[in-house]
């Protein structure tokens, strides 16, 4: 019986970036292969992180393998920097990466980790976008076996996925995929672009910035390299369509807060049961308010 031993205190100390250097090296090797084979779900031995699988552990392992002194990190969830999960991940980066700055401004960030959104402001070559992925494989809806899916991906055989989309059209006269829209990268691999809305899918196409996607629980990393074709699957007669933010009269709804008519909107229901629309990208909304220095939402109330 080991009744007398104590916990060594240095056991509780964590190194820069939390992960040990061997884990980082493996993630780094995986990222480079993922870039060389655009859209291919590159397997890696995902480590356990101190937050739940599904909370962004895949994205976080990518971020922590990239990050170093001089970096400025932005973390968003649902477009917002102050959403609970974004706060939690940013706090973890601050805790384990001394010397790294964090920001809420898209334009100031060198690394942007996000769940479910790509910022409204166009990204640049000096930025890397890291998306958290819950389900990396778009073929899972038509083929449960990973071994068989890997062959289909290798052969770029997406006939069954297209059939599924076609069946949708027959039944509903519309493709019913709302988010995680299957997108073909460089004419070969079809990816699950993570649960970004369809609104953000065109931002993957020919992006100046590298986009990395990390699935921690499913242990995959994949990439959309810069200046690479990203095409949502569609048919000639039923085109790909982004979310519709027009009102019954056909006018584009503005953000109730900053008035923007060119951003993805969250639909809110207030205490009186009235609907309001507001920018999902909080930094975009704040920046517009700061520029115009007026708050239409407050003027109304």
């Amino acid at each position: 019986m080991n009744v007398s031993y104590e916990l060594p205190l240095d056991d509780a100390a964590y190194s820069f970036g939390f992960l040990d250097e061997y884990a980082k090296r493996e993630v780094r090797r995986t990222i480079l292969k993922a870039i060389c084979i655009p859209g291919y779900q590159t397997p890696y031995a995902s480590r356990e992180m101190p937050m739940g699988r599904g909370f962004g552990t895949g994205g976080l392992q990518v971020t922590l393998s990239l990050i170093g002194e001089g970096d400025t990190v932005k973390v968003i969830d649902q477009g917002a920097d102050d959403s609970v999960n974004a706060v939690n991940l940013r706090h973890f980066v601050e805790l384990t990466c001394p010397g790294v700055d964090t920001t809420e401004r898209t334009t100031e960030a060198s690394l942007i980790q996000s769940r479910h959104r790509i910022p409204e402001v166009a990204l640049s070559e000096s930025q890397v976008m890291i998306l958290q992925v819950p389900y990396p494989d778009p073929l899972v809806v038509v083929e449960p076996s990973e071994a068989r899916r890997k062959v289909m991906h290798g052969e770029a055989d997406y006939s069954r996925l297209l059939t599924k989309l076609y069946e949708d059209i027959v039944q509903f006269d519309e493709i019913t995929i709302s988010h995680r829209y299957p997108t073909r990268i460089n004419g070969h691999y079809v990816i699950d672009p993570s649960p970004i809305p369809r609104y953000d899918v065109p931002r993957l196409d020919n992006s100046p910035a590298l986009i990395l996607l990390g699935a921690g629980r499913e242990k995959k990393i994949y990439a959309v390299p810069p200046y690479t074709r990203a095409e949502p699957l569609a048919f000639d007669d039923v085109p790909f369509r982004v979310e519709d933010f027009r009102d019954a009269q056909g006018a584009r709804r503005p953000c109730a807060r900053c008035g923007a008519t060119d951003s993805f909107l969250d639909e809110l229901i207030d205490d009186d049961g009235n609907k309001q629309w507001q920018c999902s990208d909080s930094d975009y909304c704040h920046s517009r308010l700061a520029e115009h220095d007026t708050i239409p939402g407050e003027a109304m109330s």
Binding site: L7, L19, G52, G54, F55, R257, Q278
Partner: protein
């Protein structure tokens, strides 16, 4: 104010933390904080479960995790795993010899008597599950005297500390195929991703740190009829396994310490098609850190089922390596179940957009039909 405040996530998290802590200490003035030693010893099966599912043999850290996570085994095992991510792997362990285990318990259900004898040891298998009301108000004096009285008069050398293994006897008789040592290095699930098909060592390693309930559920499906292992426990042993490492300088094997493990070997009905040689029984193997008998038995049954599935193709979920191995990890499954609690505004907005569009189309189609009729 017409819109929801965007700020406040940080305050909410701090508040949640404080509320958790307040509940942990809710006994107030009357309470005594749990010591790690008390958790490790008095809740030893809980500690066992956490070191096993955490995949890190550190009972004291496991006790800390149990205390911190307020008894949630999934969370405690998870904390141990996350801690493990920060530590480098120093070397490949050579094969460890469970024949050398210092046993506290070993039984066989295959034979009435086995070389070295049956040793029931610490188990509740034959205990009546009646409430022991005396434990509700236990006196510290009585508690402290139990261990002393138990060992009183027992000489250290009265007990043999290792026993021969039952499967060795079966092998000698030719009832089991002879032992072949795999030439392949063991698959390291902490370093290499599972890309199917995977070798048996990957399956064993995955199951050794699997969540007990998940493993049991799938093994149980096999026992009930979604499979045909029909196992007999050749031997179940619990004890302390000496860990032998090569000395960093001389390379000579040295004993670095010992770990509590549970090992189970099940024998299943023979199959002629297994090899060209004479028919023999087949073996399923289970082992894990800590004292976890149900887990070791479940693992042994699934090992047998998976070997069959790898050879003939799966006829049942429990024989399908991808199905079993990708769904038994507690950290993965619990994390994913929890993540649904996070905000999904953006995806739900997108869902609503699709539903409204298809509803509008359906309405339009219906009203145009109405005009026609």
């Amino acid at each position: 104010m017409g819109y929801v405040a965007i700020k406040g996530g940080g305050r909410a998290i701090a508040g949640a933390e404080a509320a958790m802590e307040a509940l942990r200490c809710a006994e107030g003035e009357a309470g005594t904080p749990l010591t790690l030693a008390a958790i490790e010893q008095q809740l030893r099966l809980l500690t066992s479960r956490v070191v096993s599912e955490g995949g890190l043999y550190h009972p004291r850290l496991a006790a800390l995790a149990i205390k911190q996570m307020q008894g949630d085994t999934l969370e405690a095992a998870f904390a141990l795993r996350a801690y493990r991510s920060t530590k480098p792997r120093l070397l490949d362990l050579p094969v460890q010899e469970t024949r050398q285990m210092r046993l506290i318990r070993r039984i066989s259900s295959a034979f009435k008597d086995i070389p070295g004898g049956q040793m029931l040891g610490p188990t509740t298998d034959y205990a009546l599950r009646l409430m022991r009301l005396d434990l509700a108000d236990e006196s510290p004096e009585a508690f402290r005297s139990v261990s002393r009285r138990f060992l009183d008069g027992v000489a250290d050398n009265d007990l043999p500390d290792s026993y021969p293994k039952v499967v060795d006897a079966l092998r000698e008789e030719g009832l089991l195929p002879p032992l072949t040592r795999s030439r392949e290095a063991a698959f390291d699930i902490t370093r290499d991703p599972l890309v199917f098909p995977v070798p048996r060592s990957a399956a064993l390693a995955t199951m050794a740190r699997a969540e007990t309930g998940s493993l049991l559920a799938i093994a149980y499906s096999n026992m009930r009829g979604y499979g045909d292992v029909h196992p007999t426990i050749a031997e179940l042993r619990v004890g302390y396994l000496p860990v032998v490492l090569p000395h960093p300088v001389t390379g000579e094997p040295v004993e670095a310490g010992e770990v509590l493990v549970t090992e189970c070997e099940v024998v299943a009905m023979y199959e002629g098609a297994d090899s060209d040689g004479p028919p023999t029984f087949t073996l399923g193997y289970g082992a894990c850190f800590g004292h976890n008998e149900v887990k070791a038995i479940s693992m042994a049954i699934l090992d047998r089922a998976l070997q069959k599935g790898m050879r003939d193709g799966p006829a049942n979920p429990s024989e399908d390596p991808e199905f079993v191995l990708l769904h038994v990890d507690g950290v993965d499954s619990m994390g994913f179940a929890s993540h649904y609690k996070m905000p999904h505004y953006v995806t739900f907005q997108s869902d609503m957009d699709r539903l409204r569009t298809t509803q509008d189309k359906a309405d339009a189609a219906q009203s145009s039909q109405g005009v026609e009729s």
